[in-house]
């Protein structure tokens, strides 16, 4: 490992030993940008994005999003099965799942609102309240933990100036603890919105935050 | 079946004579003449020393803020063998359960102390107190306020592991 002052953080294997670029590892050629809506129904319609800018009152399931929803729906034998993808879609648009959102999704799928609430609260990825532009999820489970995840978490909290679960004053960051993110070989793993940052150590944290704010400034 | 007769032997004179008992009695009398010790308690100037397990007039314990400790669970009226406790439960605005009506008829009460024993929150107690004379019968029905006003010491319950209260 190098002691270079700027260590490009955020992707596995970034130890200076490999000739793979970040894009190669991340599959950025495939995953770097949002694909246009309405590609094949099996795929591009159904996976969620975590957008930086969200509108909690964005219209749901209208226009192209309605198309996306209908494609999702066509892949399942029951309307209920489209619930998780529909909630994913709603969260992509609105950033979190508010009671109103649950209600709208429920009436769209013909389910009871209480049922949708029960399902939405079961899964941790649905934000039940608004989060910052960047949702920073630090894995503190065992593989990361034995390699110092607690310090990484503490560093994130320190550098964003927030308490666990709270959103920073500028609305940019929410830091939460996450369970295993399935990148145990590259501890500590941090998921920021949809992106994985791997091999993160406490001293990388300022760099990561800087990179995020730079991205935000660049638009 | 043959009838048997049991023959009783007459006790000897030394056992039947009244002389011995008379002398013993007289000796006690004379002893007190010589060395008088007080046996009469000068009540009410002098108060009797009640045993720690004496069971008398009830009292209701109160919280620091003056609320009764009773949670109106209904166990004391249930367990009461004399059926002398009347209880109506309710709920205050903080959601605490409390007795709206709590009355004990001290006339009916047999002072068994089971109410104290059964109370889960140690609210109702029988007390080391007995002076509850009144001029009218209805004054013997103690309501909640009156029970809370009582300030006499409470009874020590019998503890099976310490049967002599030591």
């Amino acid at each position: 490992m190098s002691d270079a002052p700027f260590r490009n953080p955020g992707w596995a294997g970034n130890t200076g030993e490999f000739d793979l670029s970040e894009d190669d590892v991340r599959g950025a050629a495939y995953a770097g940008e949002r694909p246009p809506e309405g590609r094949h129904p099996s795929t591009s319609a159904s996976y969620p994005f975590m957008l930086v800018e969200r509108d909690p009152y964005a219209p749901l399931f209208e226009g192209r999003h309605k198309e996306r929803y209908e494609k999702i729906r066509s892949r399942y034998p029951t309307a209920m099965a489209a619930l998780l993808p529909a909630l994913n879609l709603a969260q992509e648009l609105r950033g979190h799942i508010s009671p109103e959102t649950m209600d709208e999704v429920a009436s769209l799928l013909g389910l009871s609102s209480a049922y949708v609430r029960g399902v939405a609260t079961f899964y941790t990825m649905y934000n039940k309240r608004p989060v910052g532009r960047f949702l920073i999820q630090v894995c503190t489970n065992i593989s990361c933990n034995i390699c110092g995840a607690d310090e990484v978490l503490a560093a994130f909290l320190e550098h964003t100036g927030t308490e666990l679960g709270d959103t920073s004053d500028d609305g940019n960051f929410t830091v939460v603890e996450a369970e295993c993110l399935a990148a145990c070989g590259f501890p500590t793993c941090v998921q920021i919105n949809e992106r994985y940052f791997e091999d993160v150590s406490a001293r990388d944290v300022p760099n990561i935050l800087k990179r995020l704010t730079d991205e935000l400034a660049a638009g | 079946m043959a009838i048997s007769v049991k023959v009783m032997r007459r006790p000897e004179v030394g056992r039947t004579s009244y002389m011995r008992a008379t002398l013993k009695g007289m000796s006690l009398t004379f002893k007190h003449m010589v060395n008088p010790t007080k046996v009469t308690l000068q009540y009410p100037e002098d108060q009797p020393d009640l045993h720690p397990r004496w069971r008398g007039t009830h009292r209701m314990e109160v919280h620091a803020d003056g609320r009764p400790k009773c949670v109106a669970c209904g166990l004391c009226p249930t367990v009461c063998p004399a059926n002398c406790i009347r209880l109506v439960g309710g709920e205050d605005d903080q959601g605490n359960r409390y007795p709206i009506v709590y009355e004990i008829d001290e006339f009916r009460c047999i002072f068994c102390g089971m109410c104290q024993e059964v109370c889960p929150v140690e609210a109702i107690h029988v007390g080391r107190h007995f002076e509850n004379a009144e001029y009218s019968r209805d004054r013997f029905v103690y309501d909640l306020d009156r029970l809370m006003e009582q300030d006499h010491p409470t009874t020590l319950l019998w503890d099976p592991s310490d049967s002599r209260s030591e």
Binding site: P99, L111, S113, R117, G118, T121, F122 | V71
Partner: protein, 534 residues
């Protein structure tokens, strides 16, 4: 059914050393029940699906590697089951300990105390002392709306309530929110249970004090209540209920299981309407004399005088007004008396009708019927004609102006004025409450309500159902069948009925529809009428 020599579909297994034969597809829990062995359970309820998640009904099945949940494990031939083996007991004790990790020990202030399954099971076989030293989690309480209050801390997450609302009420308003030890039952935020018409059942099926009735809250302790088998008087469905009484007052109504009528359930309308049984100001003693001449009397004198008046009136035209709240026994005795006393012109009754029915979707046999009285069908079968409007008023014009013998039983005549019965030669009013319209009555006789007497109703399915006496009648109030039956017997010189069974026997004699029924045969579950069979 013809027995064509085929063996019945049964299995034989051994439970706790006793052999038992049960139909195929019976769960171990039920099989044990037939032997009188109660396997503790929370999530399982016979009226709901079984998710097998409370894990306290685990029993040891020989040959199975793990303990099996007895609520979903089906009995199989030759199985050997131990519900009381050391392993099963140890496990139950362990599960009970887990329940108490977070369950507040607030039995003294819990409304369920005394009928709580957790209390019972822990008392039976729980650990003597808990090992938990950690503070318990606190959820507080939540008003679900309607009559239901939720205490999250006491909840054992059996989800019976959620399943009831989903499967039986088909009204998915309840859900489990969150997961793991943070899970609670909740409605959709503030929407609550208001307007749900069967939600009261979730209070009944809650095995602990997590869901309690606001109406019953702090009213009485479970162990103080007397339970009487009865029939819900609030609609013609006639749900089987238990009257829970204390201090001679009805405290609440609880459904009693009857798969033919109401399953395990009852509607909130029926459940909530019991206060009229506790209404004070009842008629307590007979009175004789019209208007200002009315004088208090006693039964002996009043009945004697009434008998003489009836005997005098022989052959007169008779009109009777019955009530759909009266028992079959009362109505039939009324009719028998009227036929004896003269020529029966008409027997009528009035009853309120609701605008619609309210069925329980997951148990469609149970419907809150339109007729909001328990014995509308019985009155019809016994020859009474329904008159008046849907709100239970009107229709008594002929009776009001009748000039012969007029007998009113059980109808309070609330909409009638003081001129009612003014022209009657003889006006007898038997009721529970005095009424301005009874001013002209020559005799005012106090009656007991259905809760204060024994008798039968016929429900909308044509089913005769017995109710029993749960309360003491006020003063000298008597059952109507006794009063009317005694008078009729005096007129004919026959035997007077001394029990409701006698009165019932006379119905069976007089009405073909009741053919073949015997009092004992009606039992606590009721019996279908002949007409219903046909």
């Amino acid at each position: 059914m013809a027995d064509n020599g085929r063996k019945a579909d049964t299995v034989t297994l051994t439970i706790d050393g006793h052999e038992v034969t049960v139909p195929k597809g019976t769960s171990l829990l039920h099989a044990a029940e037939t032997l009188g062995v109660e396997v503790p359970h929370y999530c399982y309820h016979p009226g709901l699906s079984a998710p097998a998640q409370c894990r306290i009904c685990l029993v040891e099945v020989e040959g199975a590697p793990k303990l099996q949940p007895s609520c979903v494990t089906m009995a199989q031939d030759g199985q050997v089951v131990h519900t009381e083996s050391a392993q099963a007991r140890r496990m139950r004790q362990g599960v009970l300990e887990f329940y108490l990790v977070n369950h507040p020990l607030d039995c003294p202030i819990c409304d369920m105390s005394g009928e709580c399954k957790l209390q019972d099971y822990v008392f039976n076989e729980g650990r003597e002392h808990g090992r938990g030293r950690e503070p318990k989690r606190v959820f507080g309480r939540d008003d679900f709306g309607g009559d239901v209050l939720y205490y999250g801390d006491r909840c054992v997450m059996c989800t019976r309530c959620v399943r009831f609302m989903d499967e039986v009420a088909r009204d998915g308003r309840l859900t489990v929110v969150e997961r793991g030890d943070r899970a609670v039952i909740d409605t959709f935020f503030e929407s609550g249970l208001d307007g749900a018409s069967f939600a009261g059942n979730i209070v009944d099926i809650c095995p602990v004090g997590a869901l309690v009735s606001k109406d019953f809250l702090h009213k009485a302790r479970a162990w103080d209540l007397d339970h009487t088998e009865s029939v819900c008087p609030n609609c013609s469905q006639g749900c089987n209920i238990d009257l829970h009484t204390r201090d001679n007052l009805v405290q609440r109504l609880k459904p009693r299981e009857n798969p033919e009528v109401n399953g395990h359930w009852m509607c909130d309308y029926g459940r909530a309407n019991y206060e009229w049984l506790n209404r004070p100001g009842r008629l307590e003693a007979p009175a004789v004399g019209r208007g200002d001449k009315r004088r208090a009397s006693d039964w002996q004198h009043a009945l004697h005088a009434l008998f003489e008046r009836l005997a005098e009136a022989e052959g007169a035209s008779v009109r009777v007004v019955g009530s759909a709240f009266s028992s079959n026994e009362a109505l039939d005795a009324l009719r028998a008396l009227a036929e004896q006393a003269g020529t029966l012109q008409a027997g009528v009754f009035r009853a309120r009708r609701a605008e619609d029915e309210d069925p329980l979707p997951g148990f469609p046999i149970l419907v809150r019927r339109r007729d909001l009285a328990p014995n509308v069908d019985g009155a019809g079968i016994l020859g009474f004609t329904r008159v008046g409007d849907d709100d239970g008023t009107g229709g008594l014009e002929e009776a009001a102006d009748h000039d012969g013998v007029l007998i009113v039983v059980g109808d309070e005549l609330a909409d009638q004025d003081e001129s009612f019965g003014a022209k009657a030669g003889l006006f007898v009013y038997l009721g529970t409450f005095d009424s301005p319209a009874a001013r002209n009555a020559d005799f005012v006789l106090p009656l007991t309500t259905f809760a204060e007497e024994e008798g039968t109703f016929v429900n909308a399915q044509g089913r005769v159902q017995r109710f029993r006496q749960g309360l003491r009648g006020p003063g000298t109030a008597q059952p109507a069948w006794l009063v009317l039956g005694t008078l009729a017997a005096a007129l004919t010189g026959g035997d007077r009925p001394v029990s409701a069974a006698d009165a019932f026997a006379s119905i069976v004699q007089r009405h073909a529809a009741f053919g073949g029924l015997i009092w004992e045969g009606v039992g606590s579950a009721g019996a279908a009428l002949e007409a219903a069979h046909a």
